[in-house]
């Protein structure tokens, strides 16, 4: 065997050995290699487009710790990726999956390459001057190419815009369900929480009054009382709110506790704020009626009926009550 042949064999053996070692390293990465590779494929959720392995943020470091722990526990790469994408979604992957909507991202370079080669080949086969292969195509073909480029561009723009709008819709999913446009759909507990969280808000009296009225209609006078009382006492309540709260207090004081004098006193306070208030005067007549003071009730309701500003609806309500009083009917 010549020296040259021997050298060739030795050289070949060394290359083969390096190849085998390289193959073994590549196919049997250490745990540290796997952690690094996974860390390089996961995007830091609190950064912009940076892998967690390269990010100095605490969140990224903690995610690297988690990956290291999972690798140490024997989890496969796919199991670790599945765990993180289950929490953050596919968007956490720096390399999008080769499937579904992101497949186009992987195919785009190949498509562009094929299209480019095709364009060059086509260009060379259709010169405007047959003698000059680098010359531009002429006439109708040129127009056709222009049209194709324009149609392709328009399609690309359309796809991009449609995709964008679809994404926006998906992002908004569920938001509308949480918007509270109608307080009737909100529970008493929710209103209680809103009031408790906004005690100093200048417009909270309106919500308190609505909640108190709701409790009163449900017959829950114990819950209504503190809200009516707070509206009366609040410096931010307007006159109308105070009068309505005093009227509410008067009714539950009478209907709940049977204290007619206290109720009438509360209505007097309301009339000091809004003299001549129709609802308050009607309520006064009704409480007098219900508490057996029919003569006084008759006077109050008769006077109210003479009120020129009384609306048709109120006129009917007052007339009906007055008729019941005059007939000495039991208060309903």
């Amino acid at each position: 065997m010549s020296e040259r042949t021997r050298n060739l064999i030795y050289g070949g053996l060394i290359v083969a050995l390096i190849a085998v070692v390289g193959f073994l390293i590549a196919t049997n990465p250490t745990e540290a290699d796997r952690v690094s590779r996974l860390g390089a494929s996961i995007m830091c959720p609190v950064c912009q487009g940076e892998a967690i392995i390269h990010s100095p943020s605490e969140m990224a470091r903690e995610m690297m710790d988690l990956i290291e722990e999972r690798v140490g526990q024997g989890a496969t790469d796919q199991q670790i990726i599945d765990e993180l994408t289950a929490s953050y979604g596919q968007g956490i992957l720096l390399d999008p999956p080769v499937s579904g909507p992101t497949l186009i991202l992987w195919l785009a370079p190949a498509i562009a390459l094929v299209a480019g080669i095709g364009a060059i080949v086509w260009w060379r086969r259709h010169p405007s001057d047959p003698g000059d292969p680098t010359a531009a195509p002429a006439g109708r073909t040129r127009t056709a190419v222009t049209a194709l480029i324009l149609i392709g561009s328009a399609a690309a723009v359309l796809v991009a815009v449609t995709s964008f709008l679809q994404d926006r819709d998906e992002t908004a999913l569920g938001v509308a369900d949480l918007q509270v446009e109608d307080l009737d759909e909100v529970s008493n507990q929710t209103l209680e929480a809103v009031i408790a969280a906004n005690l100093d808000h200048p417009q909270i009296s309106g919500m308190r009054l609505a909640l108190a009225d709701r409790y009163r209609e449900e017959g829950d006078y114990r819950s209504a009382f503190p809200h009516y009382f707070a509206v009366v006492e609040s410096e931010t309540s307007d006159a109308g709110q105070r009068v309505a709260a005093l009227a509410g207090l008067a009714w539950i004081t009478w209907d709940g506790n049977g204290e007619a004098d206290t109720a009438l006193g509360l209505l007097d306070r309301a009339l000091e704020i809004q003299p001549g208030s129709v609802p308050v005067r009607f309520l006064e007549g009704r409480i007098l009626h219900c508490s057996g003071q029919s003569d006084r009730s008759e006077r109050v309701l008769s006077d109210l009926l003479q009120e020129p500003s009384l609306t048709v609806e109120w006129k009917q309500i007052v007339s009906d009550e007055l008729a019941a009083v005059e007939a000495r009917e039991v208060c309903a």
Partner: protein, 196 residues
């Protein structure tokens, strides 16, 4: 040749326009605002120590309740803004089968605790520490505040990204009690730790 170069120029210009449109639609989108993959899925389990370290709380122990899981930190401005609403909501709903769990995010438990001493606590809320942010990672937290709603069966049915007010919290709980799945709502900004 001149004409050929002009056509190549047209093509490149159009390609640039298309690319610009695509990029313009993608840039500026906050990846944290996409629909959480957890919605409709079983809530990730956790067993975490209380801030004082004296007890541990497991999510499984709360099965049967509506559970509101909020991630907060003392360095988070939105957390400070929403805190009175969380306390009021917990005080109101706490006695009615709704458990509020507030988990300190990326800070020492004593820092979370000192902050709560300052801004107040609800007697009905469980205040917990999350060592290594494992629970925050399991819930896919991008920034805080983020608030998750778990139904009595243990399924994540709602999420509020940003400051949560009492009306939104209450309306979400109302919807869950009616058997609805409120989904995700973006009410404001979230914050990352200042040094991240």
């Amino acid at each position: 040749m001149k004409s050929g170069m002009r056509w190549v120029g047209y093509g490149l210009a159009l390609a640039a326009v298309v690319l610009s449109v695509i990029l313009a639609t993608r840039f500026g989108r906050d990846p944290g605002l996409v629909e959480s993959p957890l919605i409709g899925q079983p809530a990730p389990e956790f067993t975490l120590p209380s801030l004082d370290g004296e007890e541990t709380v497991s999510l499984t122990d709360l099965r049967g309740d509506v559970v509101v899981v909020n991630f907060f930190a003392s360095w988070c401005l939105e957390c400070r803004l929403e805190h009175p609403d969380l306390v009021a909501s917990s005080d109101t709903f706490g006695p009615t089968g709704v458990t509020f769990v507030q988990i300190g995010y990326q800070e020492r438990p004593q820092d979370s605790s000192a902050w709560l001493d300052d801004v107040g606590r609800s007697d009905h809320t469980l205040y917990l520490h999350d060592p290594g942010s494992r629970t925050a990672i399991a819930y896919g937290v991008f920034g805080i505040p983020e608030t998750f709603f778990i139904d009595p069966d243990g399924t994540v049915v709602g999420k509020i990204i940003g400051e949560a007010d009492a009306l939104t919290i209450g309306a979400t709980i109302d919807a869950i009690k009616r058997g609805e799945r409120p989904g995700q709502s973006v009410t404001g900004n979230t914050q990352q730790r200042p040094d991240s």
